[in-house]
């Protein structure tokens, strides 16, 4: 009903005029118009990208902010320059702490997910092992450098433990068992390399590291068995068996290891036939760890030969 057709009293008209104005609030673009305009504007925005802040006149109102940004950037690059120079440093060298506790921690902090962080931690542990070999090949393996390596590796293992504890919801399942199993292999390989390259006594200092890694791995294994159904665990076992089979096929292993692996596979089959999934899982994972430990040690042997 049009208000032109039905004028009321003065007060009524007052409120009706306001009412009419209020109705204007509901006027809008159609959905398709709105969508089309948005699409055009976003295309425009993407084409006319963000300008470089450095092109803004330094005397503008935002100059103090830009100067701060420039100073921070400069400091950042100086810091990164030093970090870059530290990448080749070894335990006992001045820039080693910078490399391990600043640069690598920085890179670790930039990993987006907990899974990425865990992967990076395993990578760091592999690097520590590589450093030990390098020290050995350069005749720099001393009690001091071994102590630094041992402390650094212990820190990494502790970091992994706290990372896993912290992210109870995301870091679970087969991936964590694989990662912690890898860490056990690296720790055992490190212990073995120190024992071979330096002394059995020095390798004893790695016992705690190995023990912590094994505890962490076993805890994750138990959690996995408790949390997952038999079907999931069996599927995981099958995947691990495939991996072992491919390791044997590659023929890089010693005869005794190959024999041992084959025996283990028989044991796993027996356990599965008896529906002892837990036992099968333990055997299969320990087998994988043995293979990987040997691989890590062999890598170092190859390196020693090459150098």
């Amino acid at each position: 009903m049009s208000i032109m057709e039905k004028p009321g009293t003065m007060d009524n008209e007052y409120s009706k005029t306001e009412e009419l104005l209020e109705k204007g609030k509901h006027i809008s673009m159609t959905f398709s118009e709105c969508k089309e305009m948005k699409s055009q504007l976003l295309s425009y925005a993407k084409f006319h990208g963000v300008k470089s802040h450095s092109s803004v006149n330094a005397t503008s109102r935002g100059a103090w902010w830009l100067r701060s940004l420039s100073a921070t950037t400069l400091a950042f690059f100086l810091f990164m320059g030093t970090g870059y120079a530290s990448t080749d440093s070894l335990p006992g060298e001045p820039l080693y702490a910078m490399k391990v506790y600043v640069v690598e921690e920085f890179i670790s902090a930039t990993q987006l997910s907990d899974v990425d962080k865990l992967t990076y931690k395993v990578h760091q542990l592999e690097d520590r092992l590589a450093e030990i070999h390098q020290l050995a090949s350069q005749g720099l393996l001393t009690l001091d450098t071994i102590k630094i390596s041992q402390e650094t590796i212990q820190n990494h293992v502790d970091d992994v433990a706290s990372l896993i504890n912290r992210s109870t919801s995301t870091l679970r399942g087969g991936y964590v068992i694989d990662a912690t199993g890898n860490i056990v292999s690296i720790a055992r390989a490190t212990e073995k390399v120190i024992g071979t390259e330096f002394s059995e006594a020095a390798s004893d200092s790695f016992e705690d590291v190995v023990s912590d890694a094994v505890d962490m791995y076993q805890f994750e294994l138990k959690s996995f068995i408790a949390a997952e159904t038999d079907v999931v665990v069996q599927e995981y076992i099958e995947n691990q068996l495939s991996e072992i089979a491919s390791e044997i096929a590659e023929e890089d292993l010693t005869d005794s290891t190959t024999k041992h692996l084959s025996e283990n596979l028989v044991d796993v089959n027996e356990a599965l036939n008896l529906d002892e999934v837990d036992t099968a899982l333990k055997i299969v994972n320990e087998t994988i760890q043995q293979v990987k430990t040997e691989e890590y040690v062999n890598d170092f042997s190859d390196e020693t030969t090459d150098l």
């Binding site: 032109m4 673009m29 055009q40 080749d88 390196e303």
Partner: protein, 202 residues
Amino acid sequence: MKTQCSRKTHTFILDVYLREIFLHTVSITMDQQLAQFEKMYDTHSDAIFRHLFMRLGDRERAKELTQEAFMKVWQYLASGKEISYEKAFLYRIAHNLFVNEIRTDKRTKSLDEMMDDTSFDVVDTHTHADDDATAHELLAYLDTLKDSYREVLVMRYIDDLPVTEIAKLLIESETNISMRIKRALDKLKETYEHNGKTRNHG
């Protein structure tokens, strides 16, 4: 071999990391600005369109100016500046665009011309039949007011801006704005009464 490869890989990764870091920062900035821009559009586009439509009386031109307003917003954001109060900022741009439009004498046709013009499309009649009637009626009344009255009524009752904000946008005192709103409303009421009487006598 593993150590050498590992070191080379590590060095390479860090090198790439350093080179990419600026691009990454710029990319993050761009993503953030785009997200803010998109959010601003989703939140305020209809209000800005409505404001311009009610002041111009021309739907198509209002759409064009709405788009222009948001392009100006992006230019501002892309230059690295920050917008602390989005709503006021957008109304300021819309108001300036409207003033420019008037100055360049591109204002839409009078209401009578509009009503006579069969091609005049107030709103999408297929989807906004009610809006159509409301817009015609509202524009008919608003067109009887002078611009200074029209703008305060649109800002107060359609844009729902408080008097303090209107005063800031128009760079006038709150008292002036309050008085003008009252006078504008009186004038509108008078027109309303007049139309009613005319109709009754007719």
